[in-house]
């Protein structure tokens, strides 16, 4: 049981890494492609295929190894060269190690045992399925030169340039319009002035204004109108006061600053992680549950930096800093790749606050009814900062209960009651309301 769980974890991390790469901004991709093509030509002459090697690396090695960073296992950039130069170990040794590291350790190999001890006695998973070609390709990938930072900076700068140019053009248009209006106003004034001059020159009589009661005075004198207006103002203010009172406690759009800037956009959107992977108790409990830090660490043990798209407000450094905050809270030492035990619970600010007298159960909606999380929580996968999407008022609940059909498919609990009730109401599908979902006691107890 435990084993299968672990492997699931590994798969997930792998998938996610692929997703990250797939979603890199086009600029970076293009740049990388050019560089890669350049390198491929030069390297393929030597040995394996680094492109194939990269995908093999991501599938098999990335859970524990990075090219430039010590993780569960050592950094692998130029590993072949390093081994042969520093320790005199050849390709054969590497093959043996990859396919059966335990065997190498057992054989009493000095370097193998040294590495084994250095990484806390964690043996590397044996990869007997890798062929010589595969290993060639992987090693070719590891032998590539480091190049990423330049590409990223270039991309970032490019992005910045485009955004600023957009801003300027808007201002220019606005400025031009303003000048145009000013010119028109001046023009009109000039025309008026000229016409008046013509009139004086030609001795035309300008019509003289007769003295009438100003409109406001007439208005004030008309008592009936005053009464109507007074009533109108009273009603209008009552309307607004009622509106103001009824929105007290309705926190739609509530978007508090969280202790760690957790971007649902990156996790649920860019990487497409299922909501219920982290909010797992939504399936079985009344609470959706805020994931505990060990759930974060399932992935973030190996994802120590952010490689996705950035904006001026949220740079790579910013996101990496947030991951560091997570490490600090979980008590994870990235350098030593182990937990220090010094953890600090994160005090998230609760966004969706249902009053105590309303009982809401996530599992009823998520598991039984199969309602999408987005139905109530909005486009979470697009939210850089999480906010309350729905008003969470009773009227909002009731409206949905009135229009939503009960999900009775393959649920033998509903078989009998649905058959009888739908016959009674003469409908094909029952709404939640018809099933009794409007009764006070269903939510208030």
């Amino acid at each position: 049981m435990k084993k299968s769980y672990q492997s699931l974890e590994v798969n997930l991390t792998n998938n996610m890494r692929q997703v990250i790469h797939r979603n890199l901004s086009k600029n970076i991709l293009r740049l990388c492609l050019i560089i890669l093509v350049a390198f491929t030509t030069s390297l393929s002459a030597q040995d394996g295929d680094p492109v194939k090697g990269k995908s093999l690396f991501n599938a098999n090695c990335a859970a524990c190894h990075q090219l430039d960073k010590k993780m569960t296992g050592p950094a692998l950039r130029n590993v072949e060269a390093r081994l042969s130069d520093e320790h005199g170990l050849d390709r054969e040794w590497i093959n043996a190690w990859i396919r059966n590291s335990a065997g190498v350790i057992k054989s009493g190999d000095t370097y193998a045992n040294k590495i084994y001890d250095e990484y806390g006695g964690a043996a590397m998973t044996a990869m007997p399925q890798l062929s010589d070609d595969d290993i060639n390709n992987i090693l070719a990938y590891t032998a590539e030169e480091k190049k990423a930072p330049a590409a990223v900076t270039a991309g970032a700068v490019g992005n910045q340039a485009t955004t600023t140019s957009n801003g300027i053009s808007n201002e220019i248009i606005l400025g031009a319009l303003a000048i145009l209006f000013a010119l028109l106003a001046i023009g009109l004034y000039l025309v008026n002035k000229t016409l008046r001059r013509f009139a004086t020159v030609q001795n035309l009589d300008l019509p003289e204004e007769t003295k009438t009661t100003p409109i406001w005075k007439a208005f004030v004198q008309n008592q009936f109108l005053m009464l109507v207006v007074a009533i109108f103002f009273l009603l209008a203010s009552a309307y607004f006061v009622f509106g103001y009172l009824s929105q007290i406690g309705v926190d739609q759009g509530y978007e508090p600053v969280q202790p760690i800037h957790f971007s649902h956009k990156i996790h649920a959107g860019d990487n497409g992680i299922d909501c219920k992977y982290c909010h797992s108790s939504a399936r079985v409990s009344k609470h959706s549950g805020i994931p505990s830090l060990n759930v974060c660490m399932n992935c973030h043990k190996s994802i120590y930096e952010y490689n996705g798209g950035t904006s001026p407000e949220y740079s790579k450094e910013f996101y990496d800093g947030e991951i560091q905050k997570l490490y600090a809270a979980a008590g994870w030492s990235d350098a030593d790749q182990k937990y220090t035990g010094d953890s600090q619970p994160v005090k998230w600010v609760r966004i969706h606050n249902l009053p105590d007298f309303a009982y809401f159960n996530h599992s009823q909606h998520v598991t039984v009814a199969g309602v999408e999380c987005q139905t109530c929580h909005g486009p979470v996968e697009e939210m850089e900062v999480m906010y309350q999407h729905a008003p969470l008022t009773m009227g909002w609940c009731i409206d949905c209960h009135r229009t939503t059909d009960v999900n009775v498919k393959d649920n033998s609990y509903y078989t009998k009651i649905h058959e009888e009730l739908s016959k009674k109401y003469g409908v094909e599908n029952l709404t939640v309301a018809q099933m009794g979902g409007l009764e006070c006691g269903k939510c208030h107890y």
Binding site: P256, S292, V346, V349, D410, L421
Partner: protein, 1031 residues
Amino acid sequence: MSSNKKYWKSVEELNENSSIVETLKQNEFVAEIPTDEFLGDKDTLEATSTTRRDFLKYVGFSTAAASLAACEGPVKKSIPYVVQPTEIIPGVANYYASTIADGFDFASVLVKTREGRPIKIENNTMAATNGSANARVNASVLGLYDSLRVQGPKKEGESISWNTFDAETNQKLTDLKVSGKQIVLLTQTFASPSTSKLILEFKEKYGNVSHVVYDAVSESAALDAYQAKYGERGLANYDFSKAMTIVSVGADFLGDWQGGGFDSGYSKNRVPDHGKMSRHIQFESNMSLSGANADKRIPLTPTEQKLALAKLYSYVVGGSVSGNLPDHIEDAVKKAASQLKKAGSNGVVITGIQDVNAQTIALEINESLSSKAFDPKTPIKTRQGSNNAVAQLITDMKAGKVGAIIMSGVNPMYTLANASDFAEGLKKTDLSIAFSMKVDETSSLTNFIAASPHYLESWGDVELKKGHYSLTQPTIRPLFDTRQFQDALLKWTGNDVSYHDYIKDAWGTTILGGSSFNQALHDGVYVGSIATETEGTTIAEEAVETPSGNAARALAASAKSNNELELTLYTKVGMGDGQQANNPWLQEFPDPLTRTSWDNYLTISKADADRIGLSNTHVANGALNGSYANVSVNGATLKVPVIIQPGQAKGSVGLAFGYGRTLGLKEEMQTGVNAYALYQNFDTVQSVTVEPASGEHEFASVQLHNTLMGRGDIIRETTLEIFNTSDRNVWNKVPTVSLNHIETPVTSPEVDLWDEFDRSIGHHFNLSIDLNACTGCGACVIACHAENNVPVVGKTEVRRSRDMHWLRIDRYYSSEDSFVGDNEKKDNISGLGSSLSEFSEMENASVNPQVAFQPVMCQHCNHAPCETVCPVAATSHGRQGQNQMAYNRCVGTRYCANNCPYKVRRFNWFLYNDNDEFDYHMNDDLGRMVLNPDVVVRSRGVMEKCSMCIQKTQKTILDAKRDGREIKDGEFQTACSAACSNGAMTFGDINDKDSKVAKLLKDDRMYHLLETVGTKPNVQYHTKVRNTTEA
């Protein structure tokens, strides 16, 4: 004409020339208002740079700031685990099997935890051993969150660390070992195989160690009798489900007699099945739960009880005893004997007389009957104390022979009649340690208080009956820096293992015999066959009389009557031995018989009360007041309030243990008087003198009207004979009304004002209450409290009839000899004169009344009168039959309560949580941890009532929906039906035609409360049938 009456406010006004009165007349405020003090002196005022305008500015700004700040909603934090335990899912309850063994209550239980907090105790249905959770066990979860618990070890009142504790106590114990002075372990009955083993090891290490087991309320006589007869210290077990004729002489076996827990077996045979039910004859002096449930109850004094038991022996077994009983008692004894003989092995005799001879006689009668209900082979182990050993210990202590005394689970300074002797002895011991959860009467006098954990934080094992084992496991990490007694013993014996490992090891080698420990822990119970190592505790050294006919003669001879009143001390269902006196649920729990909470009192018969000059009066606000009496036993005198108890034997009085605690509990809970002061020589029967004392006591009684006055539609009752021979229309007639001069049953739709809704689809819940199976034990009342966050309101509020119990158990007395007699008397009243006199006569309960218990909660009427009068539609009806109450909609008009014929609606007069005026568990963070997160805590100004545990029915439905399955009968439960182990409450869906409750609805005994009103309730009652067949 205007009145010439003169009113005065104080006596001083009567004095014409009083200067004070004159001054007060002119001067409303007597003392000068000290303006200078807050305005400051002139100099400072002149020197200050703050002008009047500045001052106003500040006031203005701060008001504005305050009101602005108030506009913003509070920011709520949500803090997840760093590493979430796999077994905890927020919002989902976990259940753990455990066992309570506090020395008085022993029961296998299920502990419901939410987010790691135990919030409720439920019955462990896997446990076949008697002892399901009673009211006290249900309430015990609140003891965990007691704000007055000791939070760490203490030495002479100062907090110390466990390291210091270990170092100092180890040193002293080693010194004592060298000097050879006696070390005494004075403990409760643990009945724990592993603890016995541990104590043996402790003895081995320290040499002169003796272990004295002390039960606050002693069963020593019964233990001695059993030991003399069967050679083992224990109590004979009884299974009343196998008894058809039960004769009890002074044994409240439905209460706490010999550890209690016999009621579920008893109830099984109380429900007439195929025309048969058991017959129960009770001889007793106090009105007890058992007497209230008996078919025939004979009130008699304790002295007469002894004689009656001896005579019963002679009639059933043989031999002759001298002594005379009043004719009616003699007759009753003879009839009981003949019925016992007729029943043969289906009969059983038990006695609660604290006398070795009496206990021996009971054992012998059962043997001679070869009673099936009597099981001496698997003795009950939950009482092991010895009176003589305790008495010896006190003598030794006073003589300075005891070097160290280590106490656990006992509070002798409170529970001993000669507590002052004990205190004197305590001063002479070199080392005294009390393992205690509280700074109580005893631990406050010891050198060390070893803060001990609650049972929900501890490990443990119990042998409830021989071969029947239970395990205690912690359900929460210890809240405080505590250590349990066994862990300390392990430390002292130099053993490094934890008590958990020790139990596991001990069970593996002796008890389990290859079975899995984890399985036993999961089940909470294990039935084994291998005998365990027993530790020879210090027991009675006196020779016990040889059991034979001699015992009966000796008992008869000891039954000397004297002219004084005889006092029988007893334990209340709600308070027991007083360990849980700081538990507000239990304090507010009304006694099943007197219906009085927050007190103990002297129960006395009407005749004796009149003779002595004691009275009970009802005062204008509908509360009960009672006289005080001085009760003296051998020089010890207590001033006790008096309640006149119908059915109390003339010449006897009763007083409950468990009250009058002074230390380790909140001021509100310091109620009643300490009856242990009269518990001399561990004898529950004492000769007393009762004299009237000055003053009047204010009781908090929830039921003042004691009789039904012949209203047979509230409690329907019949005899087994009529039940078996007549049609249901004779004894359970549906009331009729005249429709076009034709008598039509009120249940028929033609006479109904309301249209019927179609309730045939989906679930339709019904709760069935069998008045025959209900013993009135009150476990349901506390379970309801715990499940539904029902607030505790306190004594003064209960006195104003503002108790909040959603579920009450009404108790009715008959005013004639029987309820049937009441009905006849009422029916025969004719004319105004007769009605005036006879109705007022019927208000008084009979001298020896019949008693009936009736649990009443919201009846969830299908045609509910409350729903139609609510101006804001806060209470409405659900399709599933529940009358729903939306608290947030309620504006508190209380129309619904006025219109409810059952008076089950409760109004929140105050905010009961977070309010210093109501300093009970809801007023501190610790106590609030017991609240059920699925049920809202109601606020002030809101009506509340039984919801038929809608949160539980909804949970059951949701679980089924999630699994995609239908719901089986028995899955639906309310808190009360789940707590009822007697089978009196059955809950379920009547649209499921095969369900138990649907069948009960069609039962002949079924009726609805106040059926004439036409409310069509969803709570069924089942007619009480009494087995009055003599001979």
